[in-house]
Every structure is written in C-alpha cells, then in structure tokens.
Symmetry: C2
Amino acid sequence: MTTTATPDIRTEPTASVSGAEFKQGTKPAQIMVAAKELFTSQGFGATSMDAIARTANVSKATLYAHFSGKEELFAAIVSHTCRAQSQLLLAPSVDDLDLTDALSEIGRNFLSLILSPQAVAIFRVVIGEAVRFPDLGRIFFDSGPNQMRSSLSAFLAKKAARGQLDIEAPMRAAEHLIGMFQTPVHLHVLFGVKEGVAQGDVDKVVKDAVEAFLRAYLPRA
Amino acid sequence: MTTTATPDIRTEPTASVSGAEFKQGTKPAQIMVAAKELFTSQGFGATSMDAIARTANVSKATLYAHFSGKEELFAAIVSHTCRAQSQLLLAPSVDDLDLTDALSEIGRNFLSLILSPQAVAIFRVVIGEAVRFPDLGRIFFDSGPNQMRSSLSAFLAKKAARGQLDIEAPMRAAEHLIGMFQTPVHLHVLFGVKEGVAQGDVDKVVKDAVEAFLRAYLPRA
DNA sequence: GTCTATAAAGGGATAGAC
DNA sequence: GTCTATCCCTTTATAGAC
C-alpha cells in the first residue's frame, strides 16, 4: 500500500465533484476530489489521510484545517454525492412517449446510473461502512434508491389512473420493475464479478423486464 | 495475494453454521468465531488482530500460528460462510406443492436467508472489500446469489417443460422473480435503514411477487 | 492559510521461553 | 502449541515557522 507515487495527480478542474459549496480550484475542492477518488477506489479503511493530502497536492495540515478528521471528510463526500445523485434522478420527460418506450427509457437511465463506476464505488463504500456510519447509510438510501422508487411509483400511478396500467399498489409495482431491471446485473458488478456491463446487455435486460412487467400489469382484455 | 490459501485445519465437521465446522473448543474454532463476529460487526478495516485475539481468549502468537495474517483469516471466514450458505440454499423439496405454494415457499426461504443478520453482515463486508479482495467477491457471489439463480432457473424450466409456465429464458425469469422478492426489502437492510423485517411484511412481499410473476409467466388461456 | 516536521498512538507481525 | 513481551511501521493528528 505504499509505492503509489501517483502520476495520477488531478490538475483538471473538478468535473465529478461539481461542488456547489466549494469553488473550483480551491484547496477544499482539490481535497474533496482526491478524497472521493481514494475512498471510492480503495474503501474507507485502506485510505489514509496522508494519501489524500498527497493526491490533492496539499499538506496534511491544510487538510485538517478544512476537515476536522477522516470521518467528517468521509461524511462530506457521501453527503455531497447524495445531492449530485438526487439531481441525476430527476427523470427526463418521458410523458410524451409510448408506455413501452417510456418504461424502457426509464430503465436504461436507471441502469446507466447505478452501473456507473462512480455509483458502484459509492454504493460499495457506503454499504461497507453502514455499521460504523448508520446515519450516512440512511441518508444515502433516501436520496438514492428510495427516491427512484418514489418517482417511478408516481409515474406508474399516473398511468394507472389513465387506465393504461392495472395497478393496485404503485409502490410495490415500482419495486417489481426496479427489481427486474436491477437483479440481472447489479450484484455482478457490486461483487466485482464483472467490471462493467455492455450496453447491448443492458438493452436486453431492460427489454425483458419491461415485457414481463407489462404482462403482469397491463389491463387484461 | 492469493485468496485460495485457506488453511485446512478442519478436524471434525459439524452441522453448525454459526459456530464452526471446527471441533468445538479448539483454538482455531475460537479464533474463527471471534473473527467472524468482529469482521461482520465492525468491518475488515476496523477490526484489529489484537481485538480478535482478545475476543477469542487467545494470544496473538497463537493466532498467527494458525493463520498467516489478517487477510488470510478474513478469506477463511468468508470462504467458510460460503460453504454454510451453499448448504442453506439446498432447497427443501417443493415438488409436491401447488405451483403458487412452491414459489411462495421458495420466496420465504430465500428472504429469510438473505435477511438474516448473519447474511446481511457478510454481504456488507464482502461488498465493501470487493475491491481489495476480488477473488473473494467472485467466490461468494458464485456460492450465494448465483447459486440461487441457477437452482430457481432449473425449477422454473421444469415447470415450463410441463406446460405449467410459459417461459422462454428460465434464467431471466428466475432473475425477475428474485428481483421482485428482493427489491422491496433488501436494500433497506443493507444500508441499515431497518434493523430487520417483520415476518408479516415478508409474507406480503412474497405474495405480491408471486402473483405478479404468475401474471407475467402463466400460460395465457 | 499553508507548509515542514514531528509527536502520539495503534496495528500487524515476530522472538524466544515454556 | 501457546504465551509474554516487543519490534517496527503506518496512521492520525498537531506544533510552530512563514
């Protein structure tokens, strides 16, 4: 865990951590970017404050001037990523699409979100540290997975009200669709069995899930 | 590193899942129990060899006499839990049950397995350390989640061959059912939002999932 | 605010006696 | 095999100069 005299030092302006509270190029922003990079790629325990300072091109004293400690820095990263994630879930408008196309579009967006290396990495770290940081687990869950449930549920309820779907419990139906999107691919990636998933596979998963969902929830003639 | 180097200090296999297949009372058994307890309750990084030795009522030297290091000990715990888990997934015979009852029974067994505190704890740790222990992630996935997929897929294929279900791709159908079982409850627990799930909730989740599944995959009249 | 240098503590791993 | 005692390195966190 030593030899990394990383040439991987970021000089680019922060794109992933588009900090609303940190101005780009400032030391806090550099620290946030470096910390997120390391926490997500190595986990909480294996990431040292030393490495963060080095990666951020900052001294440890500066690091501690902005964050009171490792745990607070971790909390800041997760909390920040939550907000970014929430925004990504603001679904693009699919109201003017055919039902099948709308659900497929939602599925592709959902999967491309949760399968992205960033999301997978955060998922892993937050789940892994859920025991030590219970609040963080709840916050992340509410701003991420749970938000998807709610918005999809609302969408399905709307379609049901129009008679396009036969749904008694929209939330449960949303869970069913999400489950069928997720299960064929998500655990593979979480456990590191596969690095990523080909877009072709994603499309097939979405197609199969939507078809099964519609067989289950389309009004019978 | 090699994760396959599990020391075979097994002497007298027992049926016990929680304790060990190590002869009860031996030092290795004490160590395994203590290590599993600590790894699963605090995570890999936060667990020290010192604490393991103390909990096991053993000196550190003894600990290192049986396991070459922290990583190997962790690998041994996960590997051991895999075997125990595999056995739990050997489904009880549901062949003489009505299709709905069989699927419901499978669902309840599945959920009670993956929602057990033990399984949740191991899930968390393995996912959290999947980056540092890639082999372990794959091994655990194969012996756990993937095995469930395979056996359920085989079951569904058999029913489809008898004309009781209309399924083109049994593996995909199995994933759909598993996803509908899992999604409403699993992430809550993984992220620590809920401590556990009431049996009544589990029953309702299973009931809803089976009904939706049958609407999707029952042959149309 | 930021750096260099260092203190203070804890953790993994081992030596040597029994 | 097991224990006591210890080494040595890493890590977190801070002190003091600029």
